[in-house]
């Protein structure tokens, strides 16, 4: 029951955070609202016995990625007049909801046809660092390795696109 209560709490927070992200005009507000979602998600991960992911969500997502985003938002020093004037934003969102509805309906229908399962916490170190790490370095070696390339590329990209202009060398 306690778990259900927590779930409800996190779920509501997550949805509200997401709604805030969509609705707030200023990206800063959106980002803050989004952080709430991320943190609630971390809680949900914990409820799902994903200990490592719970930690990572907080550290990597809510921590690293979001701080980066917030930093950039601040860095750009965005004035309200730089923001797009989104007249009829609510109408847009309403329209978007209508367009998205069939997709949601479809997914819900799928979920309904999936067997339901309990979400009691699993012991036995499920989702702990060690078993996940073992899995990661045994079965999932290839994606893990190639993610490194991905990050390398991303690094170069950040440098090349946003970095200071270099002298053109011929």
């Amino acid at each position: 029951m306690f778990a259900d209560g927590l779930f409800m709490l996190f779920a509501v927070l997550a949805v509200l955070g997401a709604a805030g992200l969509v609705l707030f005009r200023h990206p800063m507000n959106g980002a803050m609202s989004f952080v709430i979602t991320l943190i609630s998600l971390a809680g949900l991960y914990a409820l799902l016995s994903a200990k490592l992911i719970f930690a990572l969500q907080l550290i990597v997502y809510a921590g690293a990625i979001m701080s980066l985003i917030v930093f950039i938002i601040m860095f750009l020093n965005i004035q309200p007049e730089d923001l797009p004037k989104e007249e009829g934003k609510l109408l847009n969102i309403l329209g978007a909801l209508i367009i998205v509805a069939p997709i949601g309906y479809f997914l819900v229908k799928i979920v309904n046809r999936l067997p339901n399962a309990t979400t009691e916490l699993l012991g036995n170190n499920f989702g702990g660092v060690k078993p996940v790490g073992l899995l990661l370095f045994k079965d999932w070696l290839v994606p893990f390795e190639i993610v490194s390339i991905l990050l390398l590329v991303s690094l170069m990209g950040a440098l090349l696109l946003a970095g200071k202009k270099k002298e053109v060398s011929k």
Partner: protein, 472 residues
């Protein structure tokens, strides 16, 4: 065993080459030209290695080393060959391109090779999340390359559009993967196939939904209708060699993974035939209809790329899951790549500084001034239009044959009708080049260069590929 692992050699060469180039450029060891030649060398070596594997026969990478995540088969080898060739020609024509445009740095070539490593991974991967990561490697590298010209707002706009929509589609891919994982408990193609074979496709709702989202992501990258709209703008904003690279290498990789996923199980494939049928028809026609209204060559070629995706989708509809060799798809990709790369390498040296010549009208009378270039461009256009005896024709021929063989007569006929429609805009350029008087002398273009060498080599390829008999 080592013999089997050898099959990874091209991938390793490319990966190592990319990192080496990156480091070399970071430490300013190399200049642009040597970086270009270095990357070309990497591609060339990898290409030759891959070629030797292709010729050697049906050695398959054993499946349990990487938990079945990486597999090499004839299709992945063929597609890899095409990708490496694309990379080679892109590097070479870039070198010429940057004689007229000055936003280059050696990292450019490193990224080209990185992108190729992502593409090679995509062709070999047999697992969804690796596919996603590989896709992102490739995409990220390409995003950067698209936006490489930082001074150009158009390039920035292109990378915005591409990145935003690409990430959007990527999100669908992850969601789809999640659903597939939810149903089957695995993300490996082979095991998904086994699951479907055991439980039935229609009995697995999450696979329907998950596969749908995965397909959507692939279709987005392949620029299928209605996920095609970005292509035009992105190609337009990117620089010539990169546009060519995107149109060919990227498409090859995407269709490779697409096909590998789709043939995981016969039911899975069969379940999507109707869907793919409509998508491919709409893709072909939408692409054509966009292409006819274009003034810019790059936009036209982008739209024509959409049409070619439509043809490839026909091939996907028609593949046989029992004896999948992907030969038709690989052949078509090779044929298409030869034509498209050829055109873009020609444009690389003809478009002039800052790509000032990109519209149809800019090329009026080219044949009077640069007859051989005009002839080569005409050959590429005819190949893309599917006029014999070019590779494009044979590719189309194989696709239509496989479609009719698979009972998809309507699709074949629609494909043919679309290729009639496409004739107009290809011919339009030929008409502009040949049937008008030259308005300018093209004096500022680099007369003989790597790009022009590429162009003529590819023109030769267009015919050579057409003569290569394909075993379906």
């Amino acid at each position: 065993m080592t013999n089997d692992l050898m099959l990874l050699l091209p991938l390793i060469i490319v990966g190592v080459g990319a990192i080496a180039l990156m480091l070399a450029s970071a430490y300013k060891i190399i200049n642009n030209t040597s970086a270009a030649l270095g990357s070309a060398l990497v591609f060339a070596v990898a290409f030759l290695v891959q070629l030797s594997f292709c010729l050697k026969g049906n050695a398959v990478l054993f499946s349990d080393t990487f938990n079945g995540i990486l597999v090499a088969n004839t299709f992945s080898k063929g597609a890899g060959l095409v990708i490496l060739a694309c990379g080679l020609f892109t590097s070479l024509s870039s070198q010429t391109y940057f004689k007229q445009n000055d936003f280059c740095s050696p990292e450019y070539y490193s990224l080209t090779v990185f992108a190729a490593s992502g593409m090679l991974l995509l062709t070999m991967t047999q697992e969804l999340i690796s596919a996603f990561v590989a896709l992102e490697i490739m995409s990220l590298a390409i995003y950067i390359l698209v936006g490489y010209n930082r001074k150009n707002v158009v390039a920035a706009e292109a990378v915005l559009k591409y990145l935003m929509l690409g990430a959007f589609a990527g999100a669908f891919l992850t969601m789809g993967t999640a659903f597939v994982y939810g149903q089957t408990g695995t993300t490996q193609f082979a095991k998904i196939g086994q699951y479907i074979a055991a439980n039935g496709f229609t009995q697995s709702p999450a696979i329907i939904g998950g596969a749908f989202f995965i397909l959507v992501a692939f279709l987005f990258k392949a620029a299928a209708f209605p996920f095609h709209a970005w292509v035009i703008d992105v190609y337009d904003g990117a620089s010539m060699p990169i546009t060519g690279y995107m149109a060919t290498g990227l498409k090859t990789a995407i269709f490779a993974v697409f096909a590998n996923f789709l043939v995981a199980d016969a039911q899975l494939h069969a379940g999507w035939i109707t869907f793919l049928f409509y998508v491919s028809v709409l893709t072909m026609f939408a692409g054509n209809l966009i292409a006819i209204g274009q003034y810019s060559l790059k936009r036209m070629l982008a739209a024509s790329g959409i049409v070619h995706s439509g043809y490839l989708l026909i091939a996907l509809v028609a593949v046989s899951t029992e004896a999948f060799s992907g030969a038709v798809i690989a052949y078509y990709l090779a044929a298409y790549a030869a034509g498209t790369l050829g055109i873009f390498s020609a444009l690389s040296y003809l478009s002039g500084k800052d790509e000032k010549r990109v519209t149809f009208d800019d090329f009026k009378g080219l044949a009077k001034v640069r007859p051989y270039s005009a002839a080569a461009i005409s050959i590429f256009l005819l190949s893309m239009a599917g006029i014999p005896p070019t590779a494009g024709f044979m590719g189309k021929f194989y696709i239509i044959t496989s479609a009719i063989d698979a009972g998809q007569v309507t699709l074949a006929v629609l494909g043919i009708i679309s290729s009639v429609i496409s004739m107009w805009y290809y011919l339009r350029l030929i008409i502009n080049m040949y049937f008008y008087e030259a308005e300018e002398s093209f004096a500022d273009t680099v007369p003989s260069s790597l790009a022009s060498a590429c162009t003529f080599a590819l023109a030769f390829c267009v015919f050579a590929i057409s003569l290569y008999p394909l075993a379906i």
